[in-house]
Symmetry: C2
């Protein structure tokens, strides 16, 4: 009985009623074999004295244990751990004196190579400057407006039903609003039935490729290209065919040659500000690609995540707006407009594909947050989103110009870059310095900068990195470039 005193430790600050803490402790100890089937529990009076609690607390705990089927109370005999419980596994009995702990490793067999490791980002560390991959300045995001909309929407009784299940493709209000917006801004003559609302562009890539790719399928991607998309396709069993990306985007003549040689299922294209090199796919190549897709009947995943951010010219109409044969699945996002943590994107595709993609989406996460979707529809309608885009574009253009000037002045002899037409980062090649070492030294000096090795393959080493300028104001840009210069020159 002495041991019970040690085994059952009550925590008055846990917020859990004492009787439940006691019954929980018992079930735990019964399971791991410390208390065995047939073991007689102390009387409630003794137990109460032992634990220094009120006797009624122990009575409640025992009743709880009985209700749960762990113990039985036999009249005039006492209370016992139930005999009918299965015997404990040998392993648990052996570890009788060791505290029970969650296993570190899974105890079941499965294919450990099925899932490919991918870079998972952490929140930016406080106190350090960050050259991110090309993300917006979240300090500008209209979060207050978003939350205010959510609040006023949820207050109306009639809107409560939007808190129920419904709309696996997204709320109808948002899909209608978005269809109008995309028609006006991108020449997409679509209706709500052509839209599936997703959690960011990545979910668009995931859902579209999950619907299309069958293991063994041939898929074309750009080289260099977007790592996470490539991993998504490989995980689905696709064979990747790499096609060069030059100043006009992905080389469509190389695509044509591949199509002649083998059955291509799908191509993944980033038409504006290709990740990582920031180039834009030319109108000629867009049309060429459309003709190839219609001829060879493959799907084009058009990931236009950066459509809204152009500084030197307006964006080019999406391939989707010119696609009369149903080959394009167009993906967009609000992540770059709002903030990465506001997970909101969309797929535009032929109705039949949206219908099937919606089935699939139901199995992924059932549906989106209808409350937030309703609020976002409101922000489209009242012009908040359009105004925010306009304001951001103006600011990011200034930041781009300021940053490229700095980079040229301070590190022009050591780096090679082109001023990007749009987007939020500068694809920068380091000519003389090993980026891995620069990255490490910069970190110690207070600047986070990636080492660029994610873009490398066995064949090609780029020694290049995307320097995200949009989230840094002028002062921060100066600080960041100063540190970067220091990290480079320290060596020499």
């Amino acid at each position: 009985m002495q041991i019970l005193n040690e085994l059952i430790v009550l925590n008055p600050n846990s917020g859990i009623p004492a009787y439940l803490q006691i019954s929980n402790s018992f079930t735990q100890h019964i399971r791991v074999g410390r208390l065995r089937s047939g073991w007689k529990l102390p009387g409630t009076r003794d137990m109460a004295a032992l634990l220094n609690v009120n006797r009624m607390t122990v009575v409640a705990a025992y009743e709880e244990l009985e209700a749960q089927g762990w113990i039985e109370m036999l009249p005039r005999k006492g209370t016992f751990v139930k005999a009918k419980l299965p015997l404990l596994s040998p392993k648990a009995i052996q570890s009788e004196t060791v505290d029970f702990n969650f296993a570190e490793q899974p105890g079941f067999i499965y294919d450990k190579k099925k899932i490919i490791p991918v870079v998972t980002s952490d929140f930016p560390p406080t106190g350090k400057l960050v050259f991110n991959d090309g993300f917006p300045d979240v300090r500008l995001a209209p979060i207050e407006e978003l939350v205010r909309c959510m609040r006023s929407f949820s207050r109306l009784a009639v809107n409560k039903r939007y808190l129920m299940y419904g709309g696996a493709a997204g709320t109808l209000l948002l899909r209608k609003t978005l269809a109008d917006f995309l028609c006006d801004t991108r020449g997409l003559s679509i209706t709500a039935d052509n839209i599936l609302i997703t959690k960011g562009a990545q979910m668009g890539v995931f859902i579209a490729s999950s619907v299309i790719i069958t293991p063994g399928d041939e898929v074309i991607v750009g080289m260099p290209g977007y790592d996470t998309a490539n991993i998504t396709f490989r995980q689905l069993g696709a064979k990747l065919n790499y096609v060069p990306v030059d100043e006009d985007g992905i080389d469509t003549h190389a695509v044509e040659k591949l199509c002649a040689r083998k059955k291509i299922r799908m191509i993944y294209v980033i038409p504006h500000h290709h990740n990582p090199t920031t180039v834009t796919l030319s109108p000629e190549r867009r049309m060429h690609l459309l003709r190839l897709a219609a001829k060879y009947r493959f799907a084009i995943i058009e990931d236009d995540y950066d459509y809204d951010f152009h500084y030197s010219s307006k964006p080019i109409m999406p391939m989707a707006s010119h696609d009369s044969s149903g080959n394009v699945i167009y993906i967009g996002t609000l992540t770059k407009t709002f903030a990465p943590a506001v997970r909101f994107g969309f797929i535009v595709a032929p109705k039949e594909l949206i219908r099937i993609a919606t089935y699939f989406r139901k199995t992924v996460d059932t549906q989106g947050d209808s409350l937030m979707e309703s609020a976002i529809a409101e922000l489209y309608k009242d012009g908040t989103i359009a105004r925010h885009i306009k304001k951001s574009v103006k600011l990011y253009k200034e930041r781009r110009d300021h940053f490229c000037g700095l980079l040229q002045n301070e590190l022009g002899d050591r780096t090679l870059f082109k001023i990007p037409d749009g987007g939020m980062s500068v694809w920068t090649k380091f000519l003389r310095d090993d980026l891995t070492k620069v990255s490490r030294r910069a970190f110690d000096l207070g600047l986070v900068i990636r080492d660029g090795t994610d873009y490398d393959t066995g064949k090609q080493k780029f020694n290049s990195v995307r320097l995200g300028f949009a989230s840094l104001n002028f002062k921060e840009q100066v600080q960041a470039v100063t540190i970067l210069k220091e990290a480079i020159t320290v060596k020499s």
Copy 2:
């Protein structure tokens, strides 16, 4: 030239600048072949007169078109649709007079049978009563508190970084808070590293099974069982083995027999209030299952979506809290506590599995909404969630008792049901009336009730349905049962 007047229609209310409307129209018409390569555009003055706009608007439109590479301005010759554009596809040229429209069907080849159709719910229709599948009453959901938290959190400058990318497994704050909460309430001795935050329980099922299942794997599920989970596994290529579910939950002796016969990769179990029959898995069977999993090294997906809602006794500790060999992947949700549209759930598993599941999650949707995650952590910490659960349980118990009384009094001779220990629905068998017909007639009378055919297989027809009582107050329950009775008796 006359035709241009018809082709380019300006909409003054679209919010799009006129020059952009003009240039967008041109690119559209060039693409579909209405305006061909080499075609000479009218001078800006003529064009302005034709469209009745300021000449500078046309100048801006032409500059835009040139910047985008669609037209070229040759000195002293005029402005032309670019010669270098690829020829248009024959199809588009043939459809010259037909308005361009988005294709209804995909134009690419893919495996149309890959995705299995699944029931996608709509928002409850206004003006009708609904027997849902067992969902909470969203009118009680603490949405105001959630939104208020989001707002105050986002206002603090230091929290802005949580709007950036980061935390594919969920914010550390939420995972820590949840680890403590699960430790206290469910005896799970875990840390933040054992948790992956998901968008609802379904994403937990999707991610866990995607990591574990390789095509051809044998998976065990209950019969009758949860449709969406079964479809998720089948889509991943699993072969389903159906095991009977009786009053004590899934029959573990049948599971044992299967294990002896073939290599089982995974079992899917709903330990509390099995969907659809609402039974609870007994402690004996839980332990039996754990021993079997350790012996045969299969994974247990423990979908404990209904843990918080018990009326007759306290919940039974999860298998995960007794799992020393790492076989259990435990799934929970806040959807039933808050509201279906607040997509929030979690996976608890050995660290190594969480690490791999996080890689996979990155490819699904990158990460969750960190802002909402932070707010939910706050609601756990300040007790809002615990208080809301307590309040709901009290109310739902009253509603259960009231509803079961009604059902017995009004339809006791026509239906068979057991009063559920917990959860939000009553699994009701219709003894004499065809549920498909009842469902149709009830709809016309203003009551939505499913026809139960989703549970049927070729072998078994249940003629049963889950009657969700929790979202209906007493008055609504009376109305609903009255309509249901009318729908049944109209026939006889």
